[in-house]
Symmetry: C2
DNA sequence: GTGAAAGCGCTAACAG
DNA sequence: CTGTTAGCGCTTTCAC
């Protein structure tokens, strides 16, 4: 259908291609009101739609950026993606969201694909396994920002939560409520996010003179978390409190509890690191550690845009505090995403 | 950084551009093993990365498709998007997800933008307000499929849930449990999805000889749903059962219930039309009507791809059944997305 | 103010 | 098997 090009419009309007081009970029100073009208009319008549692809080829700018999330099934990722998409949309740009599924191979494929498509920049939740690629981009001056996870040795701006301190507070809260047997359940400690949360846990126990007991610390693939929980709760000294280190682990805990008829809030206290929709509306009300997805997403977008516009940016980590939302009392309202 | 083009590679390898091009499209039959090696070496040495943009311009195919969701805050939209993204990824294509926020203006802007970017096709959750645009695309032979909502008068393939029957079953279930005062709460009846659900509600009541009482039927903007609920529950004959017509309304109901100390499952029975994560894990266990996001997403993607490949497709509606997941008993497990 | 001309980086006949 | 030759649709000097 759409074979009408600028040349057709030019002919129809009786002017040259360049004039039409000027018109399209709204530089009306360079033409008489009359030509302007003729062009308008011709476009209308022909139902012409410009081809941005051709323009991008020439301008070397696609007005598209890529977002590569590690695992889209974390609600945090969805929220961030939405914020980023909003931001760039306000700047007449588009965000392409890709899901690497925690697979370094997929991540590599996406990075290469998106760069081949000439996207103007990338926001990555890095798997951490493609250092060569990361380095290549950063050294080549290609706009990148890392999100959620630190990548040691790669000098790119990085947006992260204050994982350690947030977990510290959550554990502290348990302790203040009299808990002594406090467990933590996490996925494998392969990325900074998870190790930082582990550190926060240990630091809190230490600060309050409690023993760090490895048998209370789970780090396992999602598929085997359930098994670990069983071990934990059937052991001689089961935990009285448990922190799920992210929302995916949290689901496992809930399912485990349900299956084994354990009452959350009665048989053990539960908190979770991550934004959980509904958390404030159901029983048991669950204490959560909320990350600032809006703030983090906007910051990342802003820094990426700066790089795209050739402004210098710091490659320091930018750390966002989390919010501990205590909900034993069923009182506090969560002002979340909904 | 990346100013190395095919020409550079050709020169480095001592062959012509066309040969390099052949190499890149893996047509090795057309060259000697030696040239092949030379090219490989040159690419390696120069760290060359092809520019897909230029290729797309020539081939008139970008290997990108667009998804325009009406409101990304519905979990259903997220699930569908993910399925579509997966599908196209397996076909070495990319999906761009955009959020129209139920705003016809935004929808129009996105459609135009994506088409200008030459995406190969569009999957749209239509607002229903841009008929001229829809028609223009369809008549021009541009690949489109509608999702979730019917658009009368536009001959494009449409994937929908069996909204009427699903609601019918849900209401029937209420009735069988002895409820007589059954309410429904929905957003404004501006799209087929919502009117069909309303119809299902009415049809079920009629079938069982119950009166259709307009004061039990809420249709209001999310912001005013709460107020309507108040009216409903403080009226002379409050409902004993309520169906929330989607997940966003559901949240409002939960918040309303919490504020007013109404116990779901005791003070009134509650069901919701939509996939709700955790629904099976919390108290009260909520009866849900689950849509088949996987099936619907895959079907839409498949049909779009057919169109892109110039295959003929039916423009009939394709209707997917929903699943009523009854959870008063806290028994049934939901095999959802997590 | 307006037009002619030279590409952007790649593909696709068509010769040789 | 390999090279030559035209463009894809648009932007952008630089003359007129």
């Amino acid at each position: 259908m759409e074979k009408i090009t600028m040349a057709d419009v030019a002919k129809e309007a009786g002017v040259s291609k360049s004039t039409v081009s000027q018109f399209l970029s709204k530089r009306y100073e360079y033409m008489s009101g009359e030509t302007r009208k003729k062009i308008e009319k011709a476009i209308e008549k022909l139902n012409y739609h410009p081809n941005y692809l051709a323009r991008s080829l020439k301008q070397k700018r696609t007005s598209m950026i890529g977002v590569i999330v590690a695992n889209i099934m974390h609600r945090f990722s969805t929220e961030i993606s939405r914020v980023i998409e909003d931001f760039f949309n306000q700047h007449d740009m588009h965000a392409i969201i890709c899901n690497a599924d925690n697979d370094p191979g997929k991540e590599r494929k996406y990075i290469e694909m998106l760069r081949a498509k000439q996207v103007d920049g990338l926001i990555i939740f890095p798997t951490g396994q493609n250092i060569d690629l990361y380095t290549n981009m950063v050294e080549g001056g290609y706009p990148v920002v890392f999100m959620d996870r630190k990548v040691p040795g790669v000098a790119a701006p990085t947006i992260i939560s204050n994982n350690l301190d947030a977990v510290y507070s959550a554990i502290e809260h348990f302790i203040e409520n009299g808990h002594q047997q406090i467990a933590i359940a996490s996925q494998p400690l392969t990325i900074s996010t998870r190790t930082d949360r582990y550190e926060g846990y240990k630091k809190a126990l230490e600060a309050y003179g409690l023993v760090i007991n490895p048998s209370l610390m789970i780090n396992a693939e999602i598929k085997t978390v359930r098994k670990e929980l069983e071990r934990l709760f059937t052991s001689g000294s089961p935990p009285t409190a448990l922190l799920a280190a992210n929302d995916l682990v949290f689901i496992e805990v809930l399912e485990f509890a349900k299956e084994n008829n354990l009452q959350v809030g009665e048989d053990f206290a539960l908190a979770v690191f991550d934004n959980i929709p509904f958390a404030h509306l159901v029983n048991p009300p669950v204490t959560t550690v909320a990350q600032s997805s809006r703030g983090m997403g906007e910051k990342a977008a802003e820094i990426l845009l700066k790089q795209i516009n050739k402004e210098k940016v710091d490659t320091n980590e930018i750390v966002f505090p989390c919010e501990l939302l205590i909900r034993e009392s069923s009182e506090k309202t969560w002002s979340g995403f909904w």
